[in-house]
Each structure stands twice: as C-alpha cells, then as structure tokens.
Assembly symmetry: D2
Homo-oligomer: 137 residues x 4
C-alpha cells in the first residue's frame, strides 16, 4: 500500500461539479477515493492488455441435466489446475447451475480456460471478469 502522497489537481469548475455529483451518487466519501478508483481501473485494464499476472472470475451458467457435462467441466478445470484457485457452485433452479471459478495467472490462460468451458455442450453462458491480484494498486 505504501505511504500517502498529496498533490494538487486543477479542474474546470463545471467538470468538477459534475464529478462531485457522480461521486455522491456512487456513495464515495471523498474525491481522492473516487480518483484512486478511476486510476486503478485504468491500471487493471493495462495489466490485462500487457499480459501481467492477473486475477479474475469465470462465471458459467449450465444445465446440469446434460449427460457428461459435469465430468467434462471437471476435466477441463483439472487441465488448468495451475491457474484455478477455487470454485463455487450455486443451484439457480431445477435446471440451471451457476458456477464461479476464481483464477490467478496470465490473461491468455484465463481466456483459454473460459473458451474451453464455454464450448462444452450444455454450458449456456460463460464470461470472464477482469480483476487484479491487487499488487501495487
């Protein structure tokens, strides 16, 4: 985390009043925290595009009644064992399961894992959310 550094920023008054409205709507308590978040968001995108080590979550929706589906998903996850931290499983309704897999590794591996899981018959939707390991942020 490191110690805090303080510096001055100048902004057009119109722009500042719109920004103040935005940060109130989003429940921030001060401008610094809102600005930090905008900066971190930009740095996280940079980490993903540069191939740095990232963290993220793969969210899957699937119909568990499909034969062999659960075994296939398990096999794929074992092939990517080195980037998977854990996974949790939720029964949405009689047919649909939501599975969330926490990953840490390279953006390419995370994307390949997501593509492999999505391609399985019975998986209705898969999406990779892009987050960070938090180092240096």
């Amino acid at each position: 985390m490191g110690r805090l550094v303080r510096f001055g920023v100048s902004l057009e008054s119109d722009l500042l009043s719109r920004f103040d409205r935005l940060i109130r709507e989003r429940s921030y308590t001060c401008r610094s925290e809102a600005l930090r978040d905008l900066i971190r968001q930009e740095l996280v995108q940079k980490q993903w595009s540069e191939g740095s080590e990232i963290a993220g979550a793969v969210t899957l929706i699937y119909d568990h009644h499909r034969r062999e589906l659960v075994n296939t998903l398990m096999d794929i996850q074992h092939n990517f064992g080195s980037i998977i931290i854990s996974s949790s499983h939720i029964h949405l309704d009689h047919n649909n399961c939501l599975e969330i897999i926490a990953v840490k590794g390279s953006p390419e591996d995370a994307q390949r894992l997501t593509d492999s899981l999505k391609s399985v018959k019975g998986v209705k939707h898969g999406v990779l959310s892009m987050s960070s390991t938090g180092k240096g942020l």
Copy 2:
C-alpha cells in the same frame, strides 16, 4: 431447454471458412453449438439492457488490513441481502483478498451493490460480470 429445431443457414464460403477456424481454436465440436453461444451472448446483453432478471458475479479486491473495511463490506451486503446468493473469499497474499459475490436480481440493483462496495476505502477494484439466470437460454 425444449426440443431441438433444425433450419438451414446460408453463408459466404470465405466467411464460413474463417468461422470454422475460429470454432476450432475455441474447441467447439460443431457449428450449431458455436452459433448457439453467439445467440445466447446477444440475448444475455439484451436481458441486461432491458432490466430483466439476471444473474452475475461481483469480484472485489481489497486490503483486509484497513480498519473497519470488512465490517463495512458486510453491512453493505446485508442491505442488499435480497439479491445476494452467496459469497466466497480467497486470500491472495498477505494483504490482498479476492471476494466473489454471486447475485440474482435486477441489473440496476446489481450495479448499485457493485458501486457501493467499490466506494469503500480499501477496496482496490470491483467489477460486475454480466451473466444470466439461464431461463429460456
């Protein structure tokens, strides 16, 4: 899920050969499954933009050493209890935690929950991934 319906599609040969390459790279076993996924992806975006009931995951990175942070996050989650299904927690390193919260409800509520959690001091990154309850997909 419903019964399968079969219909014909016509595609330019160039376009088809590029598509076939893409589906091989992403490990699909047949064109139908790849096309279904493209369709479902579009329908999921529609559900989010129209405010239908959705499912998703909020991924947070935070520094648990911050005083009061964990309690504040807990309080916020209780305020949004009706849309939170479960959450799981991962210790990334000495400082950084990854928390993934599974949600089901309206897109607006999911976004408001994400904004509230992101605005807390010590939360370094928060992102909402857009998935589906799977109904009708």
Copy 3:
C-alpha cells in the same frame, strides 16, 4: 469550460508511481490532464446510460456491389435525418466501403439507427462509438 478550481488529492505512493508511468506512456504532459480525461470518460458513460443528449459515430463496412444496398442505406439515413449531422464515405478497396456517420441525439435513436443499418444485407459490420456533445465536460 469555466474557470479552473484547484484541490488536493492523496494517493498511495506505489499507485502514484504506476499512474505516472501510464501517463508518460500515453503522452500526457501533466497529472491534471490525465485525471480530467478519466473523469470525462466516466461522465460520458453516464450520459449514455442515462439517455442524455450525446454525440457519436456509426462506422459501417459494406460491399457496394450488392444491388439496392446504397439506396437502402440512404433511405434509412433519411428516416433518421433529425439525428444525423453528416456522413463521409471511403473506398477501402474494389469491394469494400467504409462509411462514417456523425450523429447527435438520444442514445436510443443512435442505437436504433445503427441496428437498422447493420441489418441490411451487404453491410458486413456496423459499430456505434459513444462520444459526447462536449457540453459541461
């Protein structure tokens, strides 16, 4: 534009040094200008999601050899005459044209125009880029 207001921001030193590296890479001359851009980017997204008046560009790629295509595109543009400012046309190669249509109006109308143009046979790709009228930014 309005007069400039100056205020202090505090940032963790690690985060600041990463941000300084990012703004050098993107050729910013000072932190204030980079922060203003992050803020404006967020406000532009807000304008689009709230349905305020926006500006943008529709980029189309199409094959002008298709019969009736050019007339159909023209008809659609006339139906949306109230939001179209101007359009420019570029011959990419023997077959492919790039057309860029500048628009100003509501996000919904801009999206409906884009959808209508994309649905025409012979239009290979269409995308709406989200910008702003600049007011208050």
Copy 4:
C-alpha cells in the same frame, strides 16, 4: 464475398423463438443475415486482438478555443499519416468540435494515435471504434 454455402443448424425451440424476436426488433429480414452479423462481429474482435490489419474511426470532441490545439492535433495526425485515410470536422456548437478520423492499419498504431490525440489539453473525449477492412468477411 464468394459463393453461398448452405448448412443445417439445430437450436432449442425456446432459444430460437427468443432469437426470432430479437432479429425482428433489429429489423433483420432473415435468420441467415442475423447469424452472419454475429459471426462477423466475433471475427472483427479476433482481428483486433490478433493485430491483423483493421479499419476504424477515432472520434474526438474538443474545444477549438484552446490556443495551439488545432495545430497540435494536425501535427500528431501527420506523424501517423500512414494509417490515416481522411478526417471530417463538425462544429457542434460555439465551443465544441467533433472530429472523426478514419484509420486503416494495425490495432496498435490506431490505439497509439488515439492515446496521443486524447492527451492533448483541450481534447475532452476521444474514442477508437473497432471495425474492419471487410476482407474475408
């Protein structure tokens, strides 16, 4: 463009009826055209992530009253002369200009051009829209 190839696709009846509703709303005349667009959209994303030759548009909003701004934007565009096809300029109101620059080249160069233009003081917003040269689509 090439000759048309026809093949069969099977879809769950629920999914198909939702897709049919979507394509009606977006004014498509047949399923094949809607599916082609979904495929092309995916291929365009692939071209951008793989660094193939692409086409696109940079949309800028700026306040032309800023001293030296117009000259600086011109200088930057000349440095990227090899990827810029043309640009058009629109007076949005007394202060704000909309400028749209059509580009063809590598995704990296297009992004670097966008970053350079965005970093200029007085440029309020800049966005790169991702399209294609249309080859093989």
